[in-house]
Each structure stands twice: as structure tokens, then as C-alpha cells.
Subunit: 413 residues, 4 copies
């Protein structure tokens, strides 16, 4: 496949004329962020923008949207943009900084909200691509699908769209694309890599049971503080002994809690464990090892009750397909030239791959730069995170269109 640069040029020909309106819309989204699975206004506005342009939009779940633009025979390319904000008080200093608050429906608590992970750029990039493909049908052939996904931050949104029937809501894609604005990619650049690019991650809440006793009579109890400590020490051996040195794996016990008084042996202890891996087999082994070690340590301690394991915030591996990535990279090299870079994998996680994996579709996920001043760029989720408005806003549209064009414009070459 070779990129049809002429067709791309046509597709992107409205960038200049739409810029003021796009910047206004971006600032609107930035000022009105919404919490995960509560993106009602955001979703409604996206839908309104698309429908105003005549795009066929289909809701999937409470706030998810699928925009389907069919344009004759040819490849089916889906691209995802995530739309939720974070419970963070923005301190970016931008004139359009968020001061919004929202009541978390799960907890009933009001919280500040901000687009501290740049999802507003993802909305704008995907929206811009939808409009480009909708409005320049002569420049391409096939089907372009925009998947506006809720709740990436809680790992719930992609699952919700799968369970709400995304498979029935759109034609089956040939490829599935995604992008993220990153502080680690130079401003104005795009960056790709094949293979594992974001780690699989999961959290486990573990409760181990001892038996309470007065602190002076440990022999009448089972000490859960000693038990939990022995577990923490033993868990270190998973990474040091059970995983190959060349694999990337992390087992962190981020929290440990037991007891309230010095002289009372408590009845239980709680551990919050987080795991990371770049390989599904490794992740599976880590989880089995955690459960094995904890169960056996409990037995060694005469624990009177089985330990309890509650998995949460489980993110899958993001493992970019070699061929899909090569196609996108080729298109990026052709369009962006020396601004098309290699992406270094980082130990963050995403729920991006859940939809393509559920559909059996190969995917790739790339980064776009957000800061001209990389040295001082705050990281994603930092309350000060707010990428440069431009060229980031245009870049998000360009990257989306160019990547999809690797499949949708090649009829002409």
C-alpha cells in the first residue's frame, strides 16, 4: 500500500477554513469535561456536530457513539476516540482551563473535573476525520467508522460498548486505529511502534484473615500483620525469580492496612496490588503466582479463612499488529517526513484493544506530540497537563486522516 498524497491533500483541504470553529469547539469540550460513563453532554454535542454534517450516528450504550460513513466498496477502517475527563482540578493556567465540577454518580460526591489526559484532542481529531471523509467522498473509497468511546479512564467504556452491541452497530472493520496525545512525543510529531506498546495492567484487592488477640498473647491468635508482611516479601520473588529477565513485569503492593492499636492483634489485613506486563502469558503467570503465594502463605500461618481476591481496573495489553502498524508508519513517513518517529513503549495502560480484540480485528495505536517545550511538559493525568492548542489540534486531524487513508485512498495508486 502506498499513500495517495493527492487524495490526502483533498481530504485535509478544509483545515485552514475550519480552524477557528474547531478551536472554539475544542475549548468548549475542554471547559465542560465529564466523568467516565457520565459523558452525556459531550456525547450529545459530538452527535449533533456529526448529524449536522449528515453523518449516520448510532448510539452504543449510554454515551458511546458509532459514526459510519460508507463510500462504496473497499476497506473498512474504524478509528476510536475516547471522550471522558478525569476527577482532577485543572491548574494549567490556560484561559480555557476547566473549572467544572460534577457529582460522581457512584459515590454521590461532587468533584472537580478536567481533560487532564487530552481526550478532548482525541474527540476533535476523530470528529475532524469524520467530517473530512464525509465531505470529500470523491477522494476515497470504502468505509470509515468513528468510534467515540466513553470511560477509558476507568477501563469500563470499551467493555460497555462491546456489551452494548457495537458489533451489530457497524460493519466489521478490517483495521482498528487509535491515537493519544503524549508528553513523551515531540510537539508536532507522530510516533508509532509495532508490538506491545502499552502494558496489560490489573489491580487486586486482597484480604487475608488472621485471628484477633491481645497483643501480649499472640499464641491465641493468628497475626495478619506478620502474614501480610511475609506475603509482601514473597511477592517480590515473582519478578525476581519467576519471570524471565527479558520480560517486562511489575508487581507493586501499593497499599497495606491492618490494625488500629499497638497492643491488639487485628483479625485481617488488606493489600492493594497492581500488576503490569507486556505479554498476556506473563500477566497470567503473575496473577496465578500472586494467588498461589498468598493462599500458601495463609495456610502456613494457620489462617482460619480463605483469602479473598477482588480484581479491578483490569486493562488489556495493547499489542500493535505488525502489518497494520507498518501501513500506518508508511503513511506517516510519506506525509509527516521527519516528524514521523518511533514510539518508545511506556508502562501505561489503555482499554483501547478491548473492542478490536472482541471483534477479531487487527489494530494499531500511536502517539501524537502535544508540547513544543517537551522538557517542561507535565505528564498525562498531572493537573497541569494541557497540550499546546496548535499544532496539536490540526495534528490530531491530520494523523487520523493520513492513517485511515493508508487503506482508503490506495485505490488510486
Amino acid at each position: 500500500m502506498t499513500l495517495n498524497l493527492e487524495a490526502v491533500s483533498t481530504l485535509l483541504s478544509d483545515l485552514d477554513s475550519t480552524r477557528p470553529a474547531r478551536e472554539d469547539l475544542y475549548e468548549h469540550f475542554h471547559r465542560t469535561p465529564e466523568l467516565s460513563m457520565q459523558e452525556d453532554e459531550t456525547s450529545a454535542r459530538i452527535r449533533a456536530e456529526l448529524e449536522a454534517a449528515g453523518v449516520d450516528v448510532r448510539p452504543v450504550g449510554r454515551t458511546g457513539l458509532v459514526a459510519v460513513i460508507e463510500n462504496g466498496a473497499g476497506p473498512v477502517v474504524a478509528m476510536r476516540g475516547d471522550i471522558d475527563g478525569l476527577p482532577v482540578r485543572e491548574v494549567s493556567g490556560k484561559p480555557y482551563a476547566s473549572t467544572a465540577t460534577q457529582v460522581n454518580e457512584a459515590t454521590g460526591e461532587e468533584t472537580p473535573v478536567a481533560h487532564a489526559c487530552g481526550h478532548d484532542f482525541h474527540i476533535m481529531g476523530l470528529l475532524g476525520a469524520c467530517l473530512a471523509f464525509q465531505q470529500h467522498r470523491d477522494a476515497w473509497q470504502g468505509t470509515f467508522i468513528g468510534v467515540f468511546q466513553p470511560a477509558e479512564e476507568t477501563a469500563a467504556g470499551a467493555r460497555d460498548m462491546v456489551e452494548s452491541g457495537i458489533a451489530e452497530a457497524m460493519p466489521k472493520p478490517d483495521v482498528y486505529l487509535g491515537q493519544h496525545v503524549l508528553a513523551s512525543v515531540p510537539g508536532g510529531a507522530v510516533a508509532t511502534t509495532a508490538g506491545p506498546v502499552l502494558s496489560a495492567a490489573a489491580s487486586i484487592r486482597v484480604v487475608v484473615h488472621g485471628k484477633g488477640s491481645h497483643g501480649s498473647m499472640p499464641e491465641l491468635g493468628v497475626d495478619p500483620v506478620v502474614l501480610a508482611s511475609a506475603i509482601v516479601m514473597r511477592l517480590q520473588t515473582i519478578v525476581s525469580r519467576e519471570v524471565a529477565a527479558r520480560e517486562t513485569a511489575v508487581v507493586t503492593v501499593g497499599a497495606i492496612h491492618a490494625g488500629t492499636k499497638s497492643n491488639i492483634i487485628p483479625a485481617s489485613a488488606e493489600l492493594l496490588i497492581n500488576t503490569r506486563a507486556y505479554n498476556s502469558d506473563v500477566e497470567k503467570h503473575i496473577h496465578e503466582a500472586i494467588e498461589r503465594i498468598i493462599r500458601q502463605e495463609c495456610a502456613a500461618a494457620r489462617s482460619p479463612q480463605d483469602p479473598e481476591f477482588t480484581y479491578y481496573d483490569a486493562y488489556p495489553l495493547t499489542d500493535n499488529n505488525v502489518d497494520v502498524t507498518a501501513a500506518v508508519r508508511g503513511a506517516f513517513d510519506a506525509y509527516f517526513g521527519e516528524k514521523s518517529l518511533d514510539l518508545t513503549p511506556v508502562p501505561a495502560s489503555e482499554d483501547f484493544s478491548i473492542i478490536p480484540d472482541a471483534l477479531g480485528v487487527p489494530y494499531t495505536y500511536w502517539g501524537i506530540g502535544g508540547f513544543a517545550d517537551m522538557a517542561n511538559a507535565p505528564g498525562n493525568h498531572n493537573p497541569a497537563f494541557a497540550p499546546d492548542l496548535q499544532p496539536t489540534l490540526d495534528l490530531g486531524v491530520q494523523a487520523a486522516v493520513v492513517a485511515a487513508a493508508a487503506w482508503l485512498t490506495t485505490k488510486d495508486t
Copy 2:
């Protein structure tokens, strides 16, 4: 010294006639318990009872009292009764059960209060002895001092009386006595032992410092969860390896706390440690070992800041003087016969010895039984703890008088 049983008989000759009034007064104290260092009403009532009988009462600190009954040349015997209640909701089912509440002056919170440790019996025993010595001066010679001590439960009361000038408030005693109603002594019996009878105890709050980091990047931080766990495992070796097997020593980590989220490595961890020993050298070694181990484990972990140690709730060793105990035991054997038993040391602690140690006076501390049905007797501090009214109430007076009489009535033999 041989007990003058005739004199004792005279001293205790009012037991029957005073019983109804003493039972009423006991129930009054049981219904109106007060928190440590807040025993204002209790102290006022004790003082009123003593002064009504013409006893010279001297306040020491906010609620402490010293009752001095001088009766010519002879030994000076002081005896202590502790007077505070506990922040416990009584569930004994007794008709005179406490339903009292009190605002804790330190925290501002209202809490239920109960005499769940039997200090009301200690008040009544010592009050009865004071009145017996006051009203039967022909039967004895010397000086009897009643020390009504606040705040045993918080280890603050004896120190408060020392700091408030108890040494100046009374003649220097030759011996110092104390008693406690215990679920582990048969109802109606008294029990003594020489040597260590109650353990030294102390609590230590330890904060160890790590360095926070994202859970996926432990190499950028110092993990305080792993550090705290290594410390807990290493602390086990104090008892298992550093203290002689024949010594009695306990090191309990009653609480461990660090972190709030699975994927954030926190910046510090807190441990609450409790220690017990029956030997001051052993206690000193244990504390040195705890500090040594924690400091070195912090260094092993690259901890960026020294650990912090805060000692609290320090109770001294109660180490009964051999000669004083033998004298009391002799008197008990003579008066109680087969109801005079050996006391088995238990790993509880008291602030009883602080006053005699401060004064340089030998002491002994014995137990009196509280329950006819020992098998079902709830332990001290249990919300259901409420000893049988009789014979416990009389026994407390008898034991106090008989023990003191070992010194104060021997002139006649």
C-alpha cells in the same frame, strides 16, 4: 512478723453492719464511672466519705487523693486504689450496670464509660480499710495511708501524682501495697507471688520513609510497603533469637498502614508496635533491637529520611519485693487459710509501681478473685466484666486490712 489475728478481728468488726451501705456506695460508683484524669465526681465522693469519718485527706493533682491516718510510732504502710473507668459500653446485665457517657476532654467525643476493670472494687476496698484503721485505733499502731490514684488505664495517673508532689503530701511509707480484682483468681480467694508479676509494656509508633512513585516505576522510588514488611519479618527475630528462651518477651506489631491506591507507591509507612517483658534489661534490649533493626532496614532500602520513633503508653515492670510479699503472704495464709493462693504472672501491665519506685519504697501487688463461676468469667476490659458483688466487696476490705496489719498490728505479738 506474725499477724495479730485478734487485732485484725477488731479492725474488721464492722463488716457486717456496714455491708448494706457499702453495697449501695459500690453500686453508686459502678453506675457513675469516669474517664481517666476526669474522675472529678468519684474523687469528690471518696473525699467526702473519708472526711465524714474524720480522716485527713490531701488532694494530689486534679483528682488524686492521699488519706493519712497516723496512729503513733510504728511502720508506715501505704496502699493504692485506682479509681478510673474505661471507655466501654457495659453489657454485664447487672441491675446496676453503667449506662453513663462522658465527653473525653482530649478528643471532644462523647463515649460510654464503665468500670470494666473493677476499679470500683479497688476504691471500696481501700476506703473500707481507711475507715477500719480510722475507727479502731486501739487495734494497731503506726501510720496507714490510702492513695486513691487516677488514670491507671492510660498509664498517666501515677506519674501525675508523682509530678504533683505526692512525696510531700504524706510521710514516706515503709511499704507500698496494691490489689486488683482478677478473673483468673478464684472467687473469694487472694493470690500473691514474689518477683515479676505484671510485665513492663510500651508502645512505639514508627514512621519509615520511602519515596513515592508510580506503581509501574518502582526504580524511581523507595517502596515503603516492602520496607515495612521486611521490618516486620526481621522484628520476629528479636524474640526468636535475641532474647533467652526462658525470658518472657513479646514484640507485637499491632498495626501497619501505608498507601491508598494499588498503583501508587506511597511515601511512608506507619507501624504501631507493642512490647512486653518481665525484666527491665530484657525490655531495654528489645527497644534497642527494634530501633537497630528499623534503622538498618531503612538504610538497606535507601530510605531518604531517618525513621521516627514515638514511645507512648509505657508501663513499668511490676516486680514484687520478696520480703514485702512474704509478709503479706504470711498474713494471708494466717487469715484466709486455703483461700490464700499463688498468683500466676500474666502479661498485663500496670502503672502501680511508678509511685513506690519514685519514692524508693518496696512494694507488692496481689490479686483478689471476683467470680464464683471462673469458667465463664469475662476477662478484665471485656464489656461484660462485672465481678460478683459478694463476697468480692468484703474480700477487698479484708485483704487490704490483713495485708497492712502484717506491719501495723505486730506490736502486740
Copy 3:
């Protein structure tokens, strides 16, 4: 029972006249020590001495002897003397120091041998008592039995005599007595105590299985070094958490061995564990805890094979019967006066109790002093250990006769 001092005087009336011959015989035994279960010459000489005096001697096993002296109706008192030496090169400097060597039949190796535990005094004390009871039949009534026991040092001798039919070789005793020369008892004194006086002890050889691998690929193996280390750390919690602080218990891992090269993960690790307790329930709990912890730690480590436990050198608790000890103490007080002392329990072990426990007979075991200069006395098993010849030699006979006389001479009182 009251000691008949006149009868005792008669029984011991030959002490002066026999002293030179007894000293010669002692030096003979001291110069010709023999290893455990190889005491052929020692046993033959004891038998010859007894038979020369007309005593009925019955061999039990290869080197054990039972000397039965029946003297009419009355109590049956058995006393044990252990007869084996140690594989030690004596450095006492005594003129009669051992220079003997012997081939260990089990290993085929020649080793120096010495009576570094004083069993030669035990032989002489029991032999002297046998001759006293044989030659002064008019002074006592009943039956005295001398049990000359092999192989105390390997915990094999008492079991051997039980298995070789000691029950059939002699009348069933009413009491069973034993004594040991100790560096911790003042020279010339005897010392008794009721209850646990010597600890139960046992050794356990444990092999835990890992799976060998190259040191750079731990994920292909199961690391037995880490497994063994986790076990050692966890075993500390038995004493620190599972045994009451007032109990005396020791769990020592005296040896740990695994691997030969830094870069090869070995296939197994070996631990040699020693346990001590003064209470059979505690010992049983310790052994169960050791097995529990090791089995579960192996499971936590994915050990491919069950751990192996081999118990050896198991010594039972020596728990002196209260009544038997009181009788001996009464006789000692009467005869030795202020040289009759309390014995402090020490964490050593003996196979003494195996025979009386097998026979269902109450027992007591006491110490006799060996050194006028206690401050410089070498401990038992020290190569320099060699008690003062006198008064130790006479004391051993006196203590044996006096103790047995508590039962055998009381007919006259």
C-alpha cells in the same frame, strides 16, 4: 517418709576403707572411655566388679546391665548410671587424662575418646551404691536395682534397653532415679527440682526441592535458595507468634546448605533444625508448625516434590515427678543439710526418662557438683571437662545411697 539416718550411716560405712580402690577404678574408667553402644570393656568391668561381690547381674542388649539386689519385701528402687564416653580429645591436664582412641563402628573412623561428660562418675556412684546395698542388707529392706545404661550421648541407649527387654530383666520399680555431675552445681553439693528440669529436644533434617536451572534463567527453575531462606524467616514466627511468651521454646536452624556455584540454581536445599521445649504439648506444636510452614512454603514456591523430614537425636522431656522429688529432697536435706540445693533447669537434654516412661514409673533426676572452683569450671562436653576427683567420687555414692534410702530404710522409722 523420713530418712533413717542411722541406716544410711551403716550403708555408707565403707566409704573410707574403699576410697583408694574406688579412686583407682575411677581412674581406670577415665583412661579407657568407650563410644556409645561400643562400651564392651566398660560393661565387662562393671559386671566383674558386681559379680565379685555376689550381685545378680543381667545383661540387657549389647552393653547394658541390670544389677538386681533383692532384700525382702518393700519398695523397689531403680537407679540409672550412664556409661558411655564422647568422641573428644581430652585436654583436662589431669594425670589420668584419657589418650584413648576407638574406631567408630558406624563410620569406620578412628577417633579420640574421653569421659568429657562425667559418666565415669555416674558409673562409680551407682556401683558404690550397689555394693553398699549388697553388703549391708541388715540396714534396709526392699529391692535396689542398678541400671547401667549405654549410649546416652546418642539418645540410643535407653531405647536399646527398652527394646532389648529391660522390663523382663528386673522387677518393676516403684521409683526410678538418676544423677548427673554438673558444672553448674557447687562442688560437694546436690541439687534437685520438681517439674521440667531438662528440655525435650529433637533434630530434624529437612530437604526441600527446587528445580535446577542456569543462574541467568531462574524462570525455568524453582530456586531452592530463596525457598530455604523464606522458610528460615518464617520459622522465626513459631517462637515469636505461636508459642506463649511464658513458655520456653527454641527453634534453631543450625545448618543450611544448597548449591555449589554462583551461576547454577541448585535442585534442592538442606536444613538442619533443632528444637527445645519444656512441655510436650509445646514440642508437639513446634514440630507441627515446622512441618506446616515448610510444606506451605514449598507449595508457594512451586516445589516439584514434597519436602522430606527426618527426625533424629530425639530426647524426651525430663519432667521430675513431684512426689518422688520431694522424697529425695527430704532425704538430701536431712543428710547434706545446706549442701542440698535447688536445681535450676537448663536447656540440655537426656534420654534418662525413656526407661521409666516405658515402664510407667515416676522418676526424678538430680545434679551433683563437680568443681570447687565453679567460676573456672568448663562445661559438660568441653574437652577440658574433668570434675575434681574428690569429694565428687564420694558424693556420687552418698547421693545415690541417700536418695534410694528415702524408700528403702524407712521401715525402721
Copy 4:
């Protein structure tokens, strides 16, 4: 640089005619392996072969050789072949299998010896290249140097040549090359990679000091078994917490030894530790962390004496120069076509880089395949390791000549 394939063809034109003699010589070397630093016969034979062809050979150290073939102005290319065997009894089943034994000069013990790591192929490859360059001087220009290096297996040979003056024995090379026959590369193929290809490795013998005591009195000693176990558990945290998850690092405790008897607490413990890293900073951090943890754990245990660290068998990182590797890869791609593969880094180590690092020369190190049946190929050092005679023997010459030709034949392009 582009490979001059015509020149290469000339250089390799004798492969067919020399094959029978080369196979004979290979079998000779295979049958007569010699231990590290004792390769006297091997070295003598190589020298004789070279000198018979008129090559200038210079001994460096006892058995090292430098063969210098100067051929006018141009690049200086050095290539290394290691020549020592292993103390292994060959079980390959080959007709030319080694049955040789040799007395190890260091230990005095006779041991079987075999070329179980394929160094005989390395000799033959380098020898063949020397002869090719010597005999076809018209086809190339510059200088080719063969470095026949002893004692790779003990990490001593390259250091010995540096210390024996290799820098003075030859012109300074522009590049330094090396190859190894590997079971992990397909038979008949060559494989390269830039960057870290073999790990840095080091071994550390650690002695930690406790204080001996009887097993029943741990309080009188310092238990080195518990100390060593705590160290092993803590060392796991280096890889699990102190090294970034994406780095490759291994810390293995391959051996732990302390004590001989269950009831004696020994005075010290020994650990043999092996480390691996692909990054010099990581290796340095690991070594600092090991020393830090062990020193602090000793202090936590009251160790009476500093721990001792003895580093041995230190292998440097083999970090292939990007440009040199690219040149070799280009030549291999041109000559071998699809038999030129990527090499996957493996956690083995080499002393190859010591000489170029000492000389300040960029280097690359590649693998050549040895087995047509890769699935059943025994690994290097396995007693059954014996690569297929052909095409391996020819391949070794071809790869050496082609790689060097990347610099030495480019004059013609």
C-alpha cells in the same frame, strides 16, 4: 561500504580443495582439547599451520597468538578466535569425540576435557580466514589480524593477552570482530544484532559473620543462618524494586552454606551470588545494592565483623557497535542472502570485548548456526554439544572472510 563479491569469491576459492585437510585438522583439535591457559599443544599447532603458510605469528602470553597479515595501505581488521576446551566428558557420540583428560594445573586433579563450547570451530574459522587472506593478496588491501585467544571459559584469556602486551604485538585495528557457533542459530545461517548482545556478568563470594553459640542459647550468639536468609529475601528486591522493569537484570544466589550440626549456631555463612545485566549502569547499581543490603542486614543483626565481598568471574558487557555491526550485516546480507538473520540477545557472557575495549576499538560479535536439527540441538556446555561438521566448518571460514571483507575489499567498488 559495499561488499566486493568478486573479491570474496576469490578469497574463498580454496574452500573445496582444502575441505578434506580442514576436516582432518578440525577432528584433530576436537580430539585434543586443552583446559584454559593450558592450550600449549593447540597453540603450537595453530602457529605451525600459520607459519607453514608464511604468516607472521607473534606469541602473546603463554598460549595466545597474533597472526598479522599486512597487505598495503587500508583498514586494519582484527578478528578473534578463542581456543580453549572445557572440563567436560563428551557424550556427543561423534566418531571424533574427545576422550582426552588433562591435569588441571591449578588443582592438580585430572579431568576429562572436551570442546563442548565449539571453540574448535572458532579456531578453524579464523585459521581459514588467515590462510585465505595470506594466499589471495591480490583480492584485498589493508591488514588482517587473527587473534587466537586462550581461556575464554574462565574469563582470564583476554585479560592475559592485554596484560601480556597485545597492543604492542600488532598494529592498532580499526575494527575488532568475533564469532561463536550457537545452538540457537539455524544451521548454515549467520546472525547479527547491534547493541547489547551478551550480558555483563559477575560472581561475588560473600561471607557474613555471626557469633557461634549452642543452639539452645541463641541470645548468646548472632545467628548467621537467619542473617543469610534475611539477606537472600532482601536481595530479591533489587530486581523487583530497584531496576526498571524494561531493563534485563538477574541476581541469583546460587549457593548458601552455613553450619554443620542442628544444635550449634555457626559463626558465619557464605553466599555465592551471580549477577547479569545488559547495561553497565544497571550492573553497577546492582553491585552497589548488593553491598548496601548485605552491610545493613549485618548491622541489623549485630554482626560482629564486616561482611567480605570477593568478586570473581567478571565478564564485561558485549555491546555491538552500531556501525561495525551494520557493515558486517550488509556484507552478510549480500553474501548469505536469506541465511543472514537477526541475532536474539541471550543471557550468556563472554570476555570477547576486553581486548577491543582495552584498545579503544569498536567491535561486533555474531553467531553462526551449528545444527540442521535445531529442535534437538544440545546447548553450549552440554556434554553432548558437538555441531554438525558441515556446513558449519565452511561457514566459519566464510563468515570470517565475508565480515572482514566488508572493510578489506571495498577498494574495488
